[in-house]
C-alpha cells in the first residue's frame, strides 16, 4: 500500500490538494476541492474505522467501482473520486464522491425569453444532461460518449432520440466525432469546428444554444445534440438557413403573435443586409428612384458633408460595429456611460460638424436595430460581413452590384450543407409539407 502511495505521489506530484487519509487499514486518496470531504468522512472513513472487518461492501457510497488499472485510478482521482486501497486487496475501490464547484443552474443571458423558462446550461455536463432529461422524460433518449484530449480529457456526449432522429444522421455524426483528434478540447467550439460540414464557411451550420428547452425541443424534432463538458453551450445538428429566423420565444407565444413576429423579423433581417447598400446605390447611381421632394431633402443634407456617400457608409458602419463589440466586452458598470458617449458623439456631434449627413445616420441606426433582431448570434456575423461586401459592390456598381452580390451569395448557399442536409431546405429543395412550418408558426394541435 505504501508503494501505492509512492506511485501516486510520483505521478501526480506532492500536491497540497492531494490528500492521503488512512482509515483503519485502508488508505484513501482524493483531491481536496474535487471530492466532497464530508461525504468521504461519512461514507468511507467512518465505516472503515468502525467496522471490524474491512471489505468493499462496507463503504456506503452509492456509486463504487473496483479496478486494477493504475491509469484509471489516477484519472478517477483527478475526476473527484476517492480511491480506497485496502490491505490485502489487489484491486482499488473507486468511490464517486465528486462534488465539483459549479454555478448551479444559471439564467440564460444570451437567449433570453420573456415567457419561457429561465434556465440555462452550466459547465457541468452531468447537470446539463440532467436538465434535458428533466424536460423530456422520454425513454427514447440515447447517448454516445467520447473522450478527447490527453491533457483536458474532455467528455463529449451525443444525444438523440432513438427512432425519431434519422439513423443516417446519427451514423454520420458518430463517424465525424470518431474522427476528431484534438489534444486539448476546451470548449464546444473546438468540437464544432471539427465536425462542421464546412468549417470555413461564412454561414453557421451548427446551432449553439445555452437553453435546455431548446435542446429538448430540437431532440424531439429529430435533431442530434452534442454536449461538451466544461462548456455551457450545446451544439445542435442539423441547422438550416431558416432556423436562424426562429427564436425560442416562438413556441411560448400565441400563434398570431409568433407568426407576426416572424414576418417582421424576416423583413428587418433583409433590410439589415440591404439597407446601407440600397441607400448608397440609390443616392449615387439611381437618383431617379427617389421622389423629388425626398431627393431634395437628402441633397440638402448632403451638401455639407465632405465624403462621398459610400465612404460615409463605411465610417458609420465601422463606428457602429466598434460600439457594438465594445458594449459586449466592457464591464457592466460602464455600459451606461458608453451609451451616453455614443449618442452624443455619433448622434449630435458628427452631424452638426457636418462630417456625416443625417440620412446616413438614420440608415445606419435602422440597420443596427434590425441586425439586433437576428435571434441567432452567429448569423449576425454572416449578415454583417455580407453587408459590408454588398456595400462595396453597391459603391462600385449600384443596383447591378447589389444584384450580383446577392446572386453570388445565393449560389454559395445552395452548396452548403449542415450535417448532410442541404442548407436551404425546405425552400430548396422544395419540401412542401415543411414549407408551411416555415412561413407561419403553426398552431399546436388541440387534442
Amino acid at each position: 500500500m505504501e508503494q501505492f502511495a509512492e506511485e501516486l505521489k510520483r505521478t501526480l506530484g506532492s500536491m497540497p490538494d492531494l490528500i492521503f487519509r488512512s482509515a483503519g487499514s485502508s488508505l484513501i486518496v482524493y483531491m481536496a476541492g474535487l471530492a466532497d470531504q464530508q461525504r468521504i468522512e461519512r461514507e468511507i472513513v467512518d465505516p472503515l474505522t468502525d467496522n471490524k472487518h474491512t471489505g468493499p461492501s462496507v463503504i456506503t457510497t452509492p456509486s463504487v467501482q473496483l479496478t486494477d488499472s493504475y491509469q484509471q485510478t489516477v484519472q478517477s482521482i483527478l475526476s473527484g473520486m476517492a480511491a480506497v486501497a485496502m490491505r490485502g486487496q489487489d484491486q482499488v475501490l473507486l468511490a464517486n464522491v465528486a462534488a465539483y464547484p459549479d454555478r448551479g443552474v444559471p439564467e440564460p443571458h444570451v437567449e433570453t425569453s420573456i415567457l419561457g423558462p429561465q434556465e440555462a446550461f452550466s459547465e457541468n455536463l452531468d447537470t446539463n444532461v440532467a436538465l434535458i432529461r428533466r424536460i423530456t422524460k422520454s425513454e427514447k433518449l440515447r447517448m454516445k460518449v467520447w473522450h478527447y484530449g490527453s491533457v483536458a480529457h474532455t467528455e463529449v456526449r451525443l444525444l438523440y432520440f432513438d427512432q425519431v432522429a434519422q439513423d443516417e444522421l446519427v451514423q454520420e455524426m458518430s463517424q465525424r466525432l470518431d474522427r476528431v483528434h484534438l489534444e486539448d478540447a476546451f470548449g464546444s467550439n473546438y468540437i464544432a469546428e471539427s465536425i462542421k460540414d464546412r468549417p470555413l464557411s461564412l454561414f453557421p451550420t451548427v446551432q449553439k444554444t445555452e437553453r435546455p428547452d431548446v435542446v429538448a425541443n430540437a431532440l424531439m424534432k429529430g435533431k442530434v445534440a452534442v454536449a461538451v463538458n466544461n462548456t455551457p453551450i450545446v451544439l445542435l445538428f442539423p441547422f438550416t438557413f431558416w432556423n436562424a429566423f426562429e427564436t425560442v420565444e416562438d413556441i411560448y407565444l400565441s400563434y398570431s403573435s409568433a407568426t407576426f413576429l416572424r414576418w417582421i423579423r424576416s423583413v428587418f433581417i433583409l433590410s439589415a443586409l440591404l439597407l446601407p447598400s440600397l441607400y448608397v446605390a440609390i443616392t449615387t447611381f439611381h437618383n431617379e428612384m427617389l421622389p423629388t421632394n425626398l431627393l431634395l431633402s437628402i441633397a440638402a443634407s448632403r451638401e455639407a458633408s465632405p465624403f462621398p456617400a459610400f465612404v460615409e457608409a463605411f465610417i458609420m458602419e465601422s463606428i457602429f460595429e466598434a460600439m457594438r463589440e465594445a458594449i459586449v466586452r466592457m464591464p457592466r458598470v460602464l455600459v451606461q456611460a458608453v451609451s451616453v458617449v455614443g449618442a452624443l458623439v455619433i448622434g449630435q456631434a458628427i452631424v452638426q460638424a457636418g462630417i456625416v449627413s443625417i440620412p446616413m445616420i438614420i440608415v445606419v441606426s435602422i440597420t443596427g436595430i434590425a441586425s439586433l433582431m437576428i435571434p441567432h448570434y452567429e448569423t449576425t456575423f454572416a449578415i454583417r460581413i455580407l453587408r459590408i461586401l454588398l456595400l462595396l459592390m453597391a459603391g462600385g456598381f449600384g443596383f447591378f452590384g447589389i444584384a450580383l452580390g446577392l446572386f453570388f451569395t445565393q449560389v454559395y448557399l445552395t452548396g452548403l450543407r449542415s450535417a448532410g442536409m442541404p442548407y436551404l431546405a425546405p425552400v430548396a429543395p422544395m419540401l412542401w409539407k415543411m414549407l408551411k412550418k416555415l412561413i407561419i408558426r403553426q398552431p399546436f394541435e388541440r387534442s
Binding site: 441633397a299 458633408s305 456617400a309 459603391g395
Partner: protein
C-alpha cells in the same frame, strides 16, 4: 487549384473595383436637378431659347437647421441658353453648370405659344430618346406669353412653380396631357394630340386658360371657357368649371357645376358614310341660385335638367364647330372611332379623312342630371312670398 482560382475571384473583383473609379458614381451633390424646362423661340430666327429651373437644395435647409420659415425666393437657379435645336441649347447649359444635368425629375415641359405654332416636331424627339426623361412629363403650352415669363412668375402656396402645373394637370383637371399621351394620340390613326395651356392673368398670376389643339404637330389654337370644360369632360378628365343656365320665363340664372360626364360614342357606316352618335349623360350640382326658384321642388329640378341639357348640347355643338371648321383637328378621335370599329372601312378612307372630318355631323343626345343642390332649397334671404315654387 480550382479552389485557389475561386478565391481569386473576390480579389479580382476588388482590383476591378478599385481600378474602375466607379464610372457611374455620381454623388447627389454633383447633380443638377432640372425641375421644369421652358422652350421659346430664340432671338434669332430658327433658334430656340431654353430656360431651365434647377433646384437648389441648399436653400431648403441644411443639416441641423429647422428650415427657414420665410422662403421668399424660390429655391431654384435659372439657366437660359439658346441654340439651333434643343440639344444644342442643353449642351450649352451643361457648360455653364458645375454639376451634371439630370432631367429625370423634370415634371413639366413648357412650350411657348409661338414656338408651338411653328412646329413641335423638332422639340419632341429629344424628350423621348434619353432614358433619363420620363414619359410622364407633362407637356403644357404657355398661351400668349413666352414660356420664360410664365415660369418666372411666383406661384402662391408652393415652393416650386412646377407644382402648380402638375397639380393642375394631374389632380384638378386630369387631362391626358403628358408626353406619353401626346405620342399615343399622335400615332393613333385618326386622332390629334392636345395639351393643357396656361396663361398669365392680369394680376400676374399663372392661370390655367384652356386646352391647346394641335394638328400635324403644329399648334392650331385654344379651346377656352365652357367649350374647354366640355372637351375635358369628354376626354375623361375632370371638368373644372360651371355653366350658367337660364330657365325660360324666369328671372335670373343659375350656375351648375358639372361633376362628371358619361359619354357613349357610336359610329355606324351608312351608305359608305360614317354617322356619329354621341350620347352624353352629365351629372352636376347647383352651386349658385340667382333666381327665386325653390330647388327643393323636383319639377323645378326637371326644368333645370332640361335647360342645362340644352345649354350643354349647345356648348358641344359650338365646341365641335370650332374643332372641325376652325381648327380642322380631330382632337376627340372621331377617326379613331372608325378605325377601331370598322378597320376595313378605315383603311379605305384613311387618306381622305382630314378632308372628310370637317364635314362630319354628330347627332347629340345630351341628358343632364342635377344630383344635388347643396343643403338648402330656396335662397335663404328671400321672404317666403317671393319664392317661386
Amino acid at each position: 487549384m480550382l479552389r485557389t482560382l475561386a478565391l481569386l475571384v473576390p480579389v479580382w473583383l476588388l482590383i476591378a473595383w478599385i481600378c474602375t473609379g466607379c464610372w457611374d458614381r455620381r454623388e447627389i451633390v454633383d447633380v443638377a436637378i432640372v425641375m421644369i424646362t421652358g422652350v421659346d423661340e430664340g432671338q434669332k430666327p430658327g433658334t430656340y431659347r431654353v430656360h431651365a429651373h434647377v433646384a437648389e437644395p441648399i436653400q431648403l435647409g441644411g443639416p441641423g437647421e429647422a428650415g427657414s420659415a420665410q422662403t421668399k425666393k424660390e429655391p431654384v437657379t435659372h439657366l437660359v441658353t439658346e441654340g439651333r435645336n434643343i440639344d444644342e441649347a442643353r449642351a450649352k447649359a451643361e457648360r455653364m453648370l458645375s454639376r451634371d444635368i439630370i432631367t429625370s425629375h423634370r415634371r413639366v415641359y413648357l412650350i411657348g405659344e409661338s414656338a408651338a405654332r411653328k412646329g413641335m416636331k423638332d422639340i419632341l424627339d429629344q424628350i423621348s430618346r434619353n432614358p433619363m426623361n420620363r414619359l410622364s412629363t407633362l407637356l403644357v403650352i404657355a398661351e400668349n406669353t413666352k414660356a420664360e415669363k410664365l415660369m418666372d412668375t411666383k406661384v402662391p402656396l408652393e415652393t416650386f412653380d412646377v407644382e402648380l402645373f402638375r397639380e393642375f394637370g394631374l389632380r384638378k383637371m386630369r387631362l391626358p396631357t403628358s408626353i406619353k399621351d401626346y405620342f399615343i394620340a399622335a400615332t393613333t390613326p385618326g386622332q390629334q394630340p392636345l395639351a393643357a395651356s396656361f396663361a398669365k392673368s392680369k394680376e400676374n398670376k399663372i392661370m390655367m386658360s384652356g386646352i391647346a389643339i394641335f394638328r400635324d404637330h403644329k399648334l392650331e389654337g385654344f379651346i377656352k371657357g365652357k367649350e374647354a370644360i366640355a372637351l375635358s369632360g369628354m376626354l375623361g378628365g375632370k371638368m373644372g368649371g360651371s355653366i350658367t343656365i337660364r330657365i325660360p320665363q324666369v328671372k335670373g340664372d343659375l350656375s351648375i357645376h358639372l361633376d362628371r360626364l358619361q359619354l357613349r360614342r357610336n359610329v355606324t357606316i351608312l351608305k359608305g358614310e360614317p354617322e356619329f352618335t354621341f350620347e352624353v349623360r352629365a351629372f352636376g350640382r347647383v352651386l349658385d341660385n340667382r333666381t327665386n326658384l325653390d330647388l327643393s321642388n323636383p319639377s323645378i329640378i326637371q326644368k333645370i335638367n332640361k335647360a342645362s341639357s340644352e345649354e350643354l348640347e349647345h356648348t358641344f355643338k359650338s365646341l365641335f364647330h370650332r374643332l372641325q371648321k376652325q381648327f380642322r383637328a380631330d382632337t376627340t378621335g372621331m377617326g379613331t372611332m372608325i378605325y377601331k370599329k370598322h378597320p376595313g372601312y378605315w383603311k379605305r378612307i384613311e387618306k381622305d379623312w382630314p378632308q372628310m372630318y370637317p364635314d362630319q355631323t354628330i347627332k347629340w343626345q345630351v341628358r343632364t342630371e342635377i344630383t344635388g343642390v347643396g343643403s338648402i332649397g330656396a335662397p335663404l334671404f328671400i321672404p317666403d312670398n317671393e319664392v317661386e315654387k
